[in-house]
Symmetry: C2
Subunit: 410 residues, 2 copies
Amino acid sequence: MAATGREFFTAKTVAEALADFRPGHRTAVETVALDQAHGRVPAADILAGESLPGFDRSSVDGYAVRAQDTFGASDSIPAYLALAGSVAMGVAAGLNVPAHGAIAVPTGGALPGGADAVVMVEYTQEAMAGTIEVVRPVAPGEGIVRADEDMAPGRVAVSAGAPLRPQDVAMLAALGITQLEVHARPTVSILATGDELVAPDAGRVGPGQVRDALSSSVGALVRESGASPRPPQIVRDDPGALDDALGRALTDSDVVVICAGSSVGARDETAAAVAAVPGAEIYCHGLAIKPGKPTLLASSNGLPIIGLPGNPRSALVVFRLIGMPLIRRAGGWTAEHRAPSTPRRLSRDLPSAAGRLDVVQVRLSGDEAEPIFGPSALLSVVTAADEYVILPEDANGLSAGEIVEVFLYR
Amino acid sequence: MAATGREFFTAKTVAEALADFRPGHRTAVETVALDQAHGRVPAADILAGESLPGFDRSSVDGYAVRAQDTFGASDSIPAYLALAGSVAMGVAAGLNVPAHGAIAVPTGGALPGGADAVVMVEYTQEAMAGTIEVVRPVAPGEGIVRADEDMAPGRVAVSAGAPLRPQDVAMLAALGITQLEVHARPTVSILATGDELVAPDAGRVGPGQVRDALSSSVGALVRESGASPRPPQIVRDDPGALDDALGRALTDSDVVVICAGSSVGARDETAAAVAAVPGAEIYCHGLAIKPGKPTLLASSNGLPIIGLPGNPRSALVVFRLIGMPLIRRAGGWTAEHRAPSTPRRLSRDLPSAAGRLDVVQVRLSGDEAEPIFGPSALLSVVTAADEYVILPEDANGLSAGEIVEVFLYR
C-alpha cells in the first residue's frame, strides 16, 4: 500500500544487466524438417556433406569450347568452330569437345569433357549449319562454375547460434540437408498479477478495474523472439496465489515473466514470491531506465525470471530491451541480435538524466523524429510511435537538430 | 536451347515496377481472435468503443488530495492533512476527500471523489496516526490519468493497412476488442520449373541434376511477408505441365511465383505459359537489376504472377525487392514497408552501370561493409552476407570510404 512506501532497490543499469545477467538455462535440442526450419537456431554448425553445384556447370547460355581455340577471335577475324552436339538440362554432358569444336550448352547445363570455358551465345553466330563463328576470345574458366565452387564437403554450410535466414534454408536444400538439429523454441509463462485486472474478453469492466493488456502483447514479443507463450494467466495479488503460479511456471517453462502489479505493495509481493522459489538469485530489483524502473531480474536454477512494471507501456519497453535477449539466449542464440535502427534528425530537445537510460517514443514527421511525450501509463503514446530513441546512461539530453539513432517498430 | 538465343525483353526499372505494377487482387476479410492477431493486417480502422483507462486513476503511489490544500507546502512548513481512508486496487474508490483531508491511493487505483491531484508518497510522511505531512505542493491534475486520457470512444485505436504490432495488441486488449476483422493471409503457390531439379529430400542427385533450393527459401520469404506458401511443386520443362500447374495455382492462390528454369529456352517457355492464362497481362519481361534481370511480372485478372530467375541467389534478391511488396499488398498492406537499413562505410570501390539497380552482398568487417563478389549462381555469396547494398539506377559506382545505406538480413 502507498502508505508503507519503502522499496529496497538493488538497481543496475541496462548495460550492466545486459552484460552480467546471463542465466545458464538453454532449451533442449530437437530435430526439425527443413521446411519448418526458417527462423530456428541450429544447435551446432551444419557442415556440407558434398560439393555444390556438384558438377562443372555452365553459367551462361552458349557454347562449351577449349578456350585456346578462341584466342585472337574478333568481329573481323572470327574463330570458326565445328558444332559437335548439345547438352540437355538435368543429365550428364556425355560428350567431349574436340579440338576446334563447340558444344551448345544452356545455363546450368553440365560442362562437356575437354571444355575449359563457355562462350556466351551473344558472341557467336551459327555461320552455316554445323559451324559457329566466335567473335570474342574467352579465358579458361570463363562461363563456368566449378563443381565445388559454391560449397565443398566439410565446409560450414550454416553456423550454430543464429536463426536460419531464407538464404540459409536455400543452402541446406541445395545440399539435401532436410532434417536438422535446432534448439527447441523456448516456452514462456506470462503471469499477470493485480487485483484490478480482468481478462480482455470479460465484457464490460467494473469500476476501478482494467483489462489485462500485457499478456497478449508480451506474448506477441515472445513470438517475435522465436519462442512460444503459454496461455495467459491472471494471478490475484495474494502471496499464496503467486507462489503457486510461479512454482508451476518454473516446472514447465524456459522463461517466466511476471507482469507485476503497479503499486509498491504489489511489487514487493512479487519480489517476495520470487525470492522464495528454490535456487532463487535476485540479480536486481530496479533498473536505471525510464520508463521501466521497477523491473526485477532473477533466476531459479539458471532459468530467467523477469518481473515487469505493471504499466503496459513501461513493461513493453523493458521487455523489448531486456526480456527478448534473455529469451533468445535461452533458445540458443549466441549471435548478437541487432535491433533495426537508422539515424534520424531530432525535431526538438530531449531532456534526460545522466546515469539513467531513457527510451523516448517518436513519430516520423517528414524526415525527422518527433518525440511523443505523455505519462508512462499511456499506451497511446507507444501505439502512436513509429520508432523509439534510446538516450544512453551517459547522455545529458539531446538537442533539436541532432542526429540520433532511432529503432524501428515495423 | 542456347543456339536459339533470342529474348524479347520488355524491360523496366525496379523503381518503375514498384510504382506501376500494382495488380488489384486483395485477400478476403476474416475474423481472428486477438491472441492470434499479432502481425495481421486490419481491414478497416478499428475504433475505440469506450474510454481508457475508463476512470480517473492515480499514476503514482501516494495520497489523493485537493491540490489547493497543498499550495505553499514545503519541508519547513508542511501541509497537514487528515487521513480519511484508503483505496484498494480493482474497486471503485467509494470515498470522498474532504477539505484538508487525504486518501491513500496506490498506482492505478481509482481517484476518490473530491480529489483533483495525487501527491507522491515520497513527498509525505505520516506525522502522527491519522495525519500526514505534505512537503511539496501539487498542481491540479498532477499524479492523475484522466478517464479518457489514453483513449476515447470513436478515436482510432489501430489503423487499417499495417500489421498489428505488440503495442497495438495491448491497446486492443485494454479496450476489450478480442475479435477483429483482418485480411486473410495470402496463399502463395511456388512452382519450381526445370528438368534439372530434384526435391531436396530425394537423396543423392544424378549427374547434371540439382536440388530445388528455391521452393523452401522463397517459402520462407513468403512467410516473412505474412503469407502462407502452398506445398512446393516441381514442374517439368514442358509447356503442358507448366500450363496445368499454373492454371491450378491461379484458382487457389492469391499470388503465384514461378521459379523459372535458368536457360533462355526455359524462360521463354515460362513467358509463353504465363501469356496463355486467362486475362494475362504481362507487365515486364526483364528488370534492370543485377542480379535478377530475367524477371517476369504479370497478372491474371488482378492476381500477381512473378517469374523469378532460375538461379537461387538472383531469385532471392528479386523476390525480396519485388515479390514481398506484392504479397503484402495482396494481403491488405497500404502502409509503406521500410526494410531495416543503416548507413555504413564501404570498404572498397563498387562498380555499377547507370540505368540498372545493383544489389551487392556485403559482410560486416569491423564497422565497414565489405562487398562479397562472386558469380550470381553462387548461393554461398548470399549465405556469407550480413547485409546488402542497393546501388540505385542513377549511381555510377561507389568509392571506398563512402557512406552507403545497408539493408540488414537479420
